[in-house]
């Protein structure tokens, strides 16, 4: 066994980890589609899907069977290549972002020193899935949804980045593991509270979740950018939304809530507990809050959140210089 080097073991172990995390995230995204409906039911005093299997646990299987066997229709007026590309982009760009998330001290796909920036890059590319999907559908509602989505995501990504710069400054690194390590004694939620609030708002906006779901507003745009999609292509947009939700929750946990740090329980349990807490918050937001008017969303981003993040960044810098000096 001379060819079996420790390096090869490391490569296979890394591939195994990546595969497990990939499957885990996709499965979680799929399960969340049902879990969210159950929780929305709970908060609206009804049951939600509870018929397929015991307590509705097999609802997911039923949904998948349905979506796989639906007619996969490409509109004749669509721009075919881009129409096919868009859902792939929506799904892949968000999944790739999980590369940077450290789950436990031993688990995590990539340990890049530009970690956080990698997420911003992929979030930037994720806009194109909505934009191209909306344009290539050749549908007015889809185009309007895409325009809304691009303007909204662009505006909110500006202060999404800025809101995290305080964290980066305090940790002294873009690397996610170093950021987690810097929170051993004090979670960044306390010194970076406004950074957390603005990142939460931006995270909801970037994943197009309610109450920032203007791009797919059912009442005005009849589902917006994915109106012409059916079958599994729609499924990729749909699961992608939940994958984005998981991603933003995991990022919030990593950046502001100490990642896997916590007493008594093993690291993975802490990480999973915190992440599921934020997933619950995402669902609660959807259950509780109405959708604001579109111009209000934009002006909230530019007039409230952007100044808040700038002030937060300025104050962080000043305090760090003060303490450092």
């Amino acid at each position: 066994m001379s060819w079996w080097t420790p390096q090869l073991t490391a490569i296979f172990w890394g591939m195994f980890q990546a595969l497990v995390i990939l499957l885990g995230v996709v499965l979680l995204g799929a399960v969340l589609t049902v879990v969210e409906r159950r929780f929305l039911g709970l908060w609206q005093d009804r049951y939600g899907p509870n018929r397929v299997g015991p307590f509705g646990t097999l609802q997911l299987v039923a949904d998948m069977l349905k979506i796989f066997f639906k007619e996969d229709w490409i509109p004749p007026f669509a721009s075919r290549g881009l129409f096919l590309l868009a859902p792939v982009l929506a799904f892949a760009s968000l999944l790739l972002s999980f590369l940077i998330i450290p789950i436990t001290p031993g688990w995590g796909v990539a340990d890049m020193h530009i970690g956080l920036l990698f997420f911003f890059a992929l979030a930037g590319i994720n806009v194109y899935s909505v934009l191209l999907g909306g344009w290539s559908s050749g549908n007015k509602y889809a185009l309007l949804g895409a325009l809304r989505a691009s303007a909204q995501t662009l505006s909110y990504e500006v202060f999404m980045g800025l809101s995290l710069m305080g964290v980066v400054a305090m940790a002294g690194s873009f690397n996610m593991r170093e950021i987690v390590a810097a929170q051993e004694n004090l979670w960044f939620i306390i010194p970076q509270f406004f950074g957390f609030v603005t990142f939460l708002v931006a995270g909801v906006a970037v994943t197009h979740r309610a109450p920032f779901d203007q791009p797919e507003a059912e009442q005005e745009l009849a589902d917006g950018y994915h109106i012409e999609y059916s079958g599994m292509k729609f499924g990729m947009f749909f699961i992608g939304e939940y994958v984005g939700m998981v991603l933003v929750s995991a990022l919030i946990v990593t950046l502001f809530f100490g990642g896997w740090h916590g007493p008594l329980l093993p690291p993975f349990v802490w990480f999973a507990l915190k992440t599921s807490g934020f997933l619950l918050l995402f669902m609660l937001l959807r259950a509780a809050l109405p959708r604001p008017r579109y111009d209000r969303v934009m002006s909230f981003g530019w007039k409230v959140c952007l100044p808040l993040t700038l002030i937060n960044l300025l104050a962080t810098g000043a305090v760090m210089l003060w303490v450092g000096a």
């Binding site: 020193h113 990698f118 890059a121 590319i125 290539s136 303007a151 980045g161």
Partner: protein, 181 residues
């Protein structure tokens, strides 16, 4: 690393050719995005991931979105199919091509004059190193470009302001002018 460099370089060149030859404006813009991402990957291969990621965030993620936005708004699809592509006539591409060839010659001359072995090297440049360089020896340039951007911001704000100050804050006939957005 060398393979990644040449591969992404090839993709960048092919995508750029696609930008020029494409008939649909949106397809051209998509090729341009691919080209920018390929260039970012070239940065990655050269050991400058910070520059590469910034390229994706700023160019591919922000500026090109505005390009796509504008092209989508203009709805050029019908026009694009009607008019024959201009680049078929030599008068449109001869001049730029000659100039580009001159640049290529200069580049080749520069590379051959220098050390070729040094050209593709994956020496990692960290964000810290970039920050220290920018705010150390190049502080003046950074500040000047900041002032330039500020000037652009002020100008944009001035141009974008409505002439009638009475209708400044809300879009239409709102009595609750200036309330919480």
């Amino acid at each position: 690393m060398e393979l990644a460099f040449y591969l992404s370089g090839l993709v960048a060149v092919l995508a750029t050719v696609g930008v020029i030859t494409g008939t649909s404006p949106v397809h051209s813009v998509v090729y341009l995005i691919v080209s920018l991402i390929a260039v970012a990957l070239v940065f990655f291969a050269l050991g400058a991931p910070f520059a590469g990621v910034l390229e994706i965030i700023i160019y591919a993620g922000a500026i090109m979105v505005l390009f796509v936005f504008v092209v989508m708004m203009l709805n050029l699809r019908a026009d694009a199919e009607r008019t024959p592509p201009l680049w078929r006539q030599p008068i449109y591409w001869l001049g730029p091509s000659l100039l580009a060839l001159a640049l290529l010659a200069a580049l080749v001359a520069l590379i051959t004059a220098g050390d070729i072995e040094m050209a593709i090297d994956g020496e990692l440049i960290t964000a810290r190193a970039i920050g220290l360089t920018l705010f150390g020896p190049w502080l003046m340039v950074v500040e000047l470009s900041a002032i330039l951007l500020l000037a652009a911001l002020v100008t944009a704000s001035h141009v974008g302001r409505r002439s009638d100050p009475g209708h400044s804050s809300t879009p239409r006939n709102a009595p609750n002018r200036g309330d919480t957005p």
